[in-house]
């Protein structure tokens, strides 16, 4: 990974990457170990989410007092939770909660961040005020902006998603603004300005497409953070309401039985670990291949 970064920092390598066709980028991606491993891990999780009803051995919502806190066996590979629900099935169905809501949070962050970033980078008279607003929002470290938004909106899965999305948004706005500022000086943008193209056309046709690699790379790394945040907020008890099998909530429900039945909280960690590692690896690898400057 590190070797690749060092290599692509060479200037001639840089310009080569920019001139690459889509096919050659794909070939480069296939040769990058982190991209492959990351993509495979994410693919596995998405596969699990899609085929949850087929893959889950039991009903994730069915309770059974007799089976409460039972250890792993053949019928219940990962054991049962405190009310006798199958832990593995709940984990598998949890992928259907965590992944779509994380993507939704990411979309909220990207769309709003893109809007502010493009406007702020392109119209210099708005730049200062928008960026000071982002500075204010970024003064709330990490999850705290999300926590503040949850305080206002109230608890619940959709509010947590909105809050995490909005909490991530300022970083996007700043990132895209930076990209726009450098793209604005590119000869082809200046050419289309002098050709009399409208601002809207320049932003949509010339600047936006060139921001896409940056957005993709950053989004992969950000997905890892979003998944972790949603799980953490659920763990703290201000996210998902039971009985929704969100991964963080699963760990939270097992935390009181960590002495007598550590499997309840232990197994769901595997899925979080796999997903977060997957997005981190994919993001690192994509950054090395697509956007060596980031």
């Amino acid at each position: 990974m590190e070797e690749n970064t060092a290599y692509s920092n060479l200037p001639e390598q840089n310009s080569l990457i920019k001139r690459d066709s889509g096919w050659r980028i794909l070939k480069k991606l296939c040769r990058n170990k982190s991209v492959i491993v990351g993509a495979v891990l994410i693919f596995i999780i998405i596969f699990i989410a899609i085929f949850a009803p087929v893959l889950a051995p039991n009903d994730p919502y069915e309770t059974n007092a007799v089976l409460a806190k039972k250890g792993p066996d053949k019928a219940y590979p990962f054991g049962c939770d405190e009310v006798g629900r199958c832990v593995l099935s709940r984990m598998i169905y949890g992928a259907r909660v965590t992944i779509p809501y994380s993507v939704l949070a990411l979309l909220i962050a990207v769309v709003i961040g893109l809007f502010f970033g493009l406007i702020s980078g392109y119209y210099s008279f708005l730049d200062n005020s928008i960026m000071r607003l982002m500075d204010v929002l970024m003064a709330f470290p990490g999850m705290l902006l999300a926590i503040a938004i949850i305080a206002t909106l109230g608890q619940g899965l959709i509010n947590v998603t909105i809050a995490v999305g909005l909490g991530t948004m300022p970083a996007y706005a700043r990132l895209i603004r930076g990209a726009v500022l450098s793209l604005k000086k590119m000869p082809y943008v200046e050419a289309s300005i002098s050709a009399g193209a409208s601002d809207f056309r320049i932003i949509i046709r010339h600047i936006l497409p060139n921001c896409v690699p940056t957005i993709i790379v950053y989004s992969m790394l950000e997905m890892a953070w979003i998944i972790m945040s949603i799980s953490t907020l659920s763990f703290l008890g201000i996210g998902v309401t039971p009985p929704i099998p969100e991964w963080g909530a699963l760990i939270s429900s097992g935390k009181n039985f960590i002495m007598s039945a550590p499997h309840i909280s232990g197994f769901p960690v595997i899925f979080i670990l796999v997903t977060v590692t997957g997005f981190n690896l994919l993001g690192d690898g994509l950054r090395d291949v697509l956007d060596p400057r980031l």
Partner: protein
Amino acid sequence: MKKYLFKRVVQLPVILLGVIIITFLIVQLSPVDPAVKLAGASARPEVIEAYRESLGLNKSLWEQFWNYLIGIFDWDFGMSFSRKMPITTELKTALINTVYLVIFARIWSILAAIPLGVISAVKQNTWIDKACMGLSLVGISVPNFWLALMLMKIVCVDLKLLPLSGMGTSFFSWNGMKHAILPAIMLGLPQMASIARITRSEMLEVLRQDFIRATKAKGLSKRVVLLRHALKNASLKLVTVIGTQTGYMLSGSVVIENIFAWPGLGRYSIQGILSSDYPVIQASILLFAVMFLIVNLIVDLTYSYIDPRIKY
């Protein structure tokens, strides 16, 4: 440099004002009416009206904001909804507890991460390097709340080495330290992992450069080359990273304090959210943001001190 300092000092109050406005809006936009909340839902309308009067809720929005602003500078953050008393003292204790924990965690994580990163860089691609980097990847990807639970189970319950949770009588006694060890380890662990990774990659970058070869050719000892020349040049990025990471540490303290029942600001704020105690949420989030702003200012100043070439 002076110009930059001036710019920062001018900008800071503006951002601070923005932060205060946002925390003010948390309560204004929330569906809860503080007067009803304080008087109790079954209270007679006159009682609620009296509360409204005394809280200044019948004044205009601007007056309310002005009172809030003045209150902050008097360290007056209003009345707790759930305990029906001013939150001043609680808040002060919580703040001190969190600062103590964060400093503790910050110190050990830096002291552990930098040697780890330097060793990994020097012994690149050996088993030491791979083990360190593997460990740090796990440190980033495993949910730290689960790690904290496991650590608690192993160290406190199975081995009975440290107290389970809560806080000791005094910070600087052995008893107080014992309570702080586990939360500080957990708070610092992800930080340590990422600082170690960045130290490694920065060191690798610097070690490849010509001036390092020159110092080696000059016959300087390995220690001097590494510490005086390589690490010093790598430290530039490290300072920024350590600064922003300290911000994440503040937010990480929310989780860790809740697991270890550490009576700090993070625990206080979550308790506030769970009981819809808006003044508590408002005040603790405001204090978090102010701490973060202070850390960032210190980082910027250190940055320009380390590298005099930087002119803003």
